[in-house]
């Protein structure tokens, strides 16, 4: 439920998502929940994975360029 609340708040735009991504301890807690095992933690684990994906920083222009250049190399 806490993860759902954070996810909903993060839906308020890129700036909020970035602020939450940088919020002290949040990502560490999510990573911790992601590693929990057992059926009892299934929902929490899944919610953590979704949130981590949501918060993962977008590719920088330099990264995009690099990926594109490798693609070109592969195509030739």
């Amino acid at each position: 439920m806490a993860q759902r609340a954070i996810g909903n708040i993060a839906g308020g735009g890129a700036e909020l998502a970035r602020k939450l991504h940088d919020y002290p301890a949040l990502m560490a807690q999510l990573e911790k929940v992601k590693e929990l095992s057992g059926d009892v933690n299934k929902k929490g684990r899944e919610a953590a994975i979704i949130l981590i994906r949501h918060f993962s920083p977008k590719l920088s222009p330099a990264d995009k360029e690099l990926i594109e250049s490798k693609k070109e190399l592969r195509d030739t």
Partner: protein
Amino acid sequence: MMIIKGLIGGGEEAQKGVCEKFDLMTRLATIIDMYSMPEEGEGEMETMGTPMLVVRVAISLTWAIICGNKEVKKDMYHHERLVASLVAVIGKERGEWKVMKAGALGAIGNIAMGSNEVRKGLYDVEGLIALLVSVVGNEGEEWKVARENALSVIGNIALSSDEVRRRLYNYPDLIASLVAVIGA
């Protein structure tokens, strides 16, 4: 009240019909108010026993009524006293109020599943967000249901608009409380 509870189990139309026919919201708000508002009445009520049960049933009935019908949720939100009465219950600290608090949070959570207009309005209900943050901060198994219901209310209110989401992010201690729950 148990008969009414049976009647509203008959579907969304039955819920709305029963609410209108018996002016149920006003009656429930009156019962909840009667026992939740005056601080000095608490001790007296706790020794009375039965009235406590009546309030409990009234809160659970309120929770049940709001389950299905969006129109009923909206009517409940717009009722002159009902939300304020439920918020007063959430603010109680002692004894059996913990159970009632969980029920009142469940009822508000159901109201918050209605329209965006209702969700936005709930953000501005006096004292509600502060109480939600304080409930989320309570540790231990005895607070589990109340805590989960409070988190659900916050999650639903956060669905309303970007403006409300920004205000929730900036609300003192709110994000810190959510992060603490994730790590618990």
